[in-house]
């Protein structure tokens, strides 16, 4: 590697790192509590809820839907979703199926009794604030795309750091920390060691973070291309005044994809369906396929299956990038590893800025680096 090559990679490493440092620092600090989102929720909501009749047979989805609409007279159902770890069904309703989010009402029901389940939302506003700061800095899509650009700079800084690692380590053994020489060299060695051992995690979290910032365009593309095809071919179908059984519709959907299970239902007229169909969204049963969803349209009047459409590759990539970014898929130990690596990233950012500030006179620096084998000789 020649002098000019090292100089070019140094330039890339310096500027990609410096430009994204402040935002990466914010992302690391806000990401830390998000790793332990479930544990924080559990600690702040200690009143554990139990179903009214644990041994009883579950009510049907139609019975739950009737109960939900009795509680909200004049409203129509928009979405129905299901808790994973407890017998609870969540019903979103509103004045119309295409009502904006602010006009929607969300209520949870005990599947064993039909009773309302009290919301466990202590601390939720704080976590939502942190999540939104982490996701888009309260700027919506422009904020997400900007953070995505910062993510690309971060990935470039990691790659350039790996390239520069070779000339820096030319005369040094792996893990050398020159504590007895200058303070700058000591922190440079820590920066190099801790950076190189975390490369896999830094790249995975960086790249999945970039993919996640494209969530809105990806979902929109999916809706406008893949789902639109399914919806358009059924759009002309007349809506029916009578309502077919929701349970029968869900069972018919599962028969279409027996290796999948129910995730949520979008009711006729909502953003994810047509005016005449239930859109029953299914997801896989295996750890990988559980993030992959497929909608099945069922005519809400006749209960006839209108079609199933699998996710395209780019939507699957988005689904898989979410857990890989937040680290909440492998138990508490993985979360702890995630947290330590998050703190390590903060260390890398801070030492990177320190190394830049303490760079000193350029000629003296080059001579010192050459004397100590800090970089490859030119």
């Amino acid at each position: 590697m020649g002098k000019q090559t090292i100089k070019s990679w140094s330039w890339v490493h310096k500027w990609t790192s410096l430009l994204c440092t402040l935002f990466l620092l914010m992302l690391c600090l806000t990401g830390l509590p998000l790793i332990f989102h479930d544990e924080i929720d559990g600690a702040l909501n200690t009143d554990s809820w139990t179903p009214a009749n644990p041994a009883a047979e579950h009510l049907t989805l139609d019975e739950i839907l009737d109960t939900a609409l009795e509680n909200r007279p004049g409203e129509v159902p928009i979405f129905m979703s299901f808790d994973i770890d407890r017998p609870v069904v969540n019903v979103t309703s509103g004045p119309s199926a295409d009502a904006p989010g602010s006009a929607m009402h969300f209520a949870s029901f005990d599947l064993t009794s039909g009773n309302l389940v009290p919301p466990a939302d202590n601390g939720e506003s704080v976590m939502e604030f942190i999540l939104q700061l982490h996701t888009d800095m309260f700027l919506g899509l422009p904020g997400m795309l900007f953070l995505g650009f910062m993510g690309i700079l971060f990935v470039l800084s990691v790659v350039s750091g790996v390239v520069l690692y070779a000339p820096f380590m030319r005369k040094l053994e792996f893990g050398t920390v020159r504590r007895q020489q200058s303070k700058r060299l000591k922190w440079l060695d820590y920066h190099n060691l801790l950076g190189i051992v975390a490369v896999a995690w830094l790249l995975v979290v960086g790249l999945t973070g970039v993919i996640n910032t494209l969530e809105e365009p990806i979902i929109e593309t999916w809706k406008s291309q893949e789902l639109a095809g399914l919806v358009a071919s059924n759009e002309g179908v007349a809506a029916s005044a009578s309502r077919a059984s929701l349970d029968a519709a869900v069972n018919a959907a599962i028969e279409e994809a027996p290796d999948m299970e129910l995730q949520f239902v979008a009711f006729p007229g909502s953003g994810f369906s047509t005016k005449a169909h239930y859109a029953v969204f299914l997801h896989g049963r295996t750890p990988v396929s559980e993030h992959v969803i497929a909608p099945v349209l069922i005519h809400a009047g006749t209960g006839e299956v209108a079609g199933l459409r699998e996710m395209p590759w780019y939507a699957k990539a988005l689904s898989l990038s979410r857990p890989l970014h937040f680290g909440d898929y492998g138990g508490l130990l993985l979360k702890l590893v995630w947290a330590v690596l998050d703190l390590l990233t903060i260390f890398l950012l801070v030492t990177g800025v320190y190394l830049w500030l303490a760079r000193g006179n350029r000629r003296m620096r080059v001579e010192r680096q050459l004397d100590t084998g800090e970089v490859l000789k030119a």
Binding site: M1, G2, K3, V162, Y165, A166, P167, M169, R170, F174, G175, T176, V177, L193, L194, I196, V197, A198, V199, A200, W201, V204, P287, V288, L320, P323, L324, Y329, G330, G331, L333, L334, L336, V337, V340, L341, L344, R363, V366, E367, L370, D371, L376, K377, A378
Partner: protein, 65 residues
């Protein structure tokens, strides 16, 4: 010191020696991160440890020195 010396190439052998441990750490960590997503159950602990393999190596190296 003359900073305009002719360049010194890193031999493939030296480059290999520099990157052998980082490459091993990269492979084990990446395998752990992906495997934890693909497999559920008690193996999660092994995959979490594999994901943090770089941390273990760094801690061991720093403690030894």
């Amino acid at each position: 010191m003359n900073v305009n010396k002719p360049r010194v190439r890193l031999s493939a052998k030296r480059l290999g020696a520099i990157f052998v441990l980082p490459a091993l750490i990269f492979a084990v960590s990446l395998a752990g991160l992906v495997a934890a997503l693909l497999v559920e159950g008690h193996a999660d602990i092994i995959f979490a440890i594999a994901s943090g393999f770089g941390l273990i190596v760094a801690a061991a190296v720093l403690a030894r020195r």
